[in-house]
Amino acid sequence: MSIRALVLTVIGIAAVVLGLASIYTLDENEQAVVTRFGQPRGKAITEPGLHFKVPFADTVNRFDKRWLDWRGDPNQIPTKDKKYIWVDTFGRWRIIDPLRFFQRLRDERNAKSRLDDIIDGETRNAIASYNLIEAVRSSNRPFEDDEYASESERGGTLEQVSIGRDKLTRQIRVRAADIVKEFGVELVDVQIRRINYVDEVQVKVFDRMISERRRIAERSRSEGMGRAAEIRGERERQLKEIRSEAYRKAQEITGKGDAQATKIYADAFGRDPEFFQFLRTLEAYPQAVDGSTAMFLGTDSEFYRYLRSSKK
């Protein structure tokens, strides 16, 4: 192998190394700030693809171009109506000014901790200045199949919402976004992920729920008994009605029958009352006499008249 070949090889290697050092690629989801010996050079590069730089002197600082997530730690916050709750929030942000972002915060980790401070603070402010219901409900939609007999029975748990969840989170977002703007960060959303009672409150809430259920159960039972009594009363009424009606009609019918019969008898027997009496009496005699009857008859009776003599 000749010296010439060796020199050529060295030059070749040098060229390749130099060439590779003067290009860089940006992914679809990346943006970058180029610094020359630590000094930022021009605008941020946001176009993905192949880019050139001065080899060795320039450094490429890459940043994410995508929507980034931010998750707050759960915060224990008292609401305006003094209910202690845990609030979990999350947000969505992105780096819109990489240069400023690079200068102020340097990396995402720093950014997140600043966001923590700012958004947590705003969340605290917002939650603390409203009643709990504002963070829970988003509208004043009336509940269906309400189990409560009256509003007073509910014991004031149903409050009207004046701003609601959406506006409350928007308020947090607007304020926080205003602050983080100077870091080259755009904060577009803050949402409440979870709201829960702190443990001590939760126990009380459970107690309240239990007593509420008991009340509903008791009402249900008593309603049942009431309805049952009503039905029994109704049954009694119906029975009495049916029976008395039947009695009345039966009396009417028998009365009519008796009356008709009486009229028929009267019409017939009225022709000759004396004969009727005679006939009925004769009919009655055999029935009035049986084997144990002793009869005393004088010979002067009509029946035995001829026993003594055949004279007329």
């Binding site: 219901i133 959303d189 949402q191 009672y197 029994r232 049954r235 009609k249 004969f275």
Partner: protein, 355 residues
């Protein structure tokens, strides 16, 4: 369930950069000796690597997203594909046809996972505990099923899409549950909660440019919190008791009223029968009387006597003891024994006569 987009054909840490490889080759070349053989070998390696990094295959349930030097150039459908070698083109495969699933409040146990179970379990519980609109607490487990509808957005618009999706799922479910009463969430409003949560979640997913299409939000177990459960059951029990009391009362009513109606009918029919009977008897007797009377009028004296005598003979036949006495011996009456078979001659005589 976390889903990791697999980046196939991307920069593989196992493989070395083309840059390194060339340097190596040149170094080997300088050493001489086997130079030529090594050179051929090196060229061979380069060619083989080139071929392998040129060809890529997209499976039927995926699409391939092509990046040229990091820049998005297009999406390809399933099938074999050729691309520029040595990592100039990258292909990211995204399973757009696959139904993906995220579980909230519970985790389907996977086989052979390590025992990080306890922590995820506690976390899962926290996921499902939520406040209802009447400031009660409900435990809601649900599933979100989704598909990737826009691979570009899915890959390049959001970092940690999966996490983001979980966050917005929780937020939208809580927003919806927060607007319903505990009773609605537990019973009647379940379907509506799921539907509204789906709409809200889709809206958020679109707003966040996740490139995800929410197919379904399915509510799994929806329960009151454990300490409260017995009292909820008590309510159900009370409702049952109520129904039972009402049903029993109705049963009693149904048992007795129709019977009473029947009995009433019976009474009425009986009364009608009685009336008809009375009338018919009256008519019959009246008719008989009229007939007899008609005949009697033709010969009253004779008929009267005949009737009297007929009756008397009948009466005397029936009577057990007959005493016929004359006016002259009226005084004996008190002496007669009045107990059945008598030894009194007069009575015997009459018996005789009777035979």
């Amino acid at each position: 369930m976390a889903w990791n987009p697999q980046i196939l054909g991307g920069p593989d840490p196992q493989k070395r950069d083309p840059e390194d490889r060339i340097r190596e080759l040149l170094e080997k070349l300088q050493k001489g000796g086997f130079g030529r053989i090594i050179l051929f070998f090196a060229v061979g390696v380069v060619v083989v690597t080139g071929v392998f990094t040129t060809y890529a295959q997209v499976e039927p349930d995926e699409v391939g997203v092509i990046l040229r030097l990091g820049r998005y150039v297009g999406t390809v459908e399933p099938g074999p594909h050729f691309r520029l070698p040595f990592g100039i083109d990258q292909m990211l495969k995204v399973p757009v046809q696959r139904q993906l699933k995220a579980e909230f409040g519970f985790r389907t146990e996977r086989v052979a996972t390590r025992t990080t179970y306890a922590t995820t379990d506690a976390d899962a519980r926290r996921e499902s505990l939520m406040l209802t609109g009447d400031l009660n607490v409900a435990v809601v487990d649900w599933i979100v099923q989704y598909k990737i509808k826009d691979p570009y957005q899915y890959l390049f618009k959001v970092k940690n899409v999966e996490e983001m999706l979980r966050d917005i799922s929780e937020a939208s479910m809580r927003a919806v549950v927060g607007d319903h009463s505990v009773n609605e969430v537990l019973t009647t409003g379940r379907q509506r909660v799921a539907t509204e949560a789906k709409l809200l979640l889709q809206e958020l997913a679109d707003r966040y440019e996740t490139g995800v299409d929410i197919q379904q939000v399915v509510l799994q177990d929806v329960n009151p919190p454990d300490p409260v459960k017995p009292s909820f059951n008590e309510v159900n029990q009370a409702i049952q008791e109520k129904e039972r009391a009402i049903n029993e009362a109705l049963a009693e009513l149904n048992r007795e009223v129709p019977r009473a109606r029947g009995e009433a009918e019976e009474t009425l029919r009986g009364a009608e029968g009685y009336a008809i009977e009375q009338v018919n008897r009256a008519k019959g007797e009246a008719e008989r009387f009229i007939r007899i009377h008609d005949e009697y009028r033709k010969a009253p004296e004779v008929t009267r006597s005949r009737m009297y005598l007929d009756t008397m003979s009948k009466v005397l036949q029936r009577a057990g003891q007959k005493v016929v006495s004359d006016e002259s011996n009226k005084g004996i009456t008190p002496l007669l024994r009045m107990d059945g078979a008598s030894a009194v001659p007069a009575a015997a005589a009459i018996k005789e006569q009777k035979r």
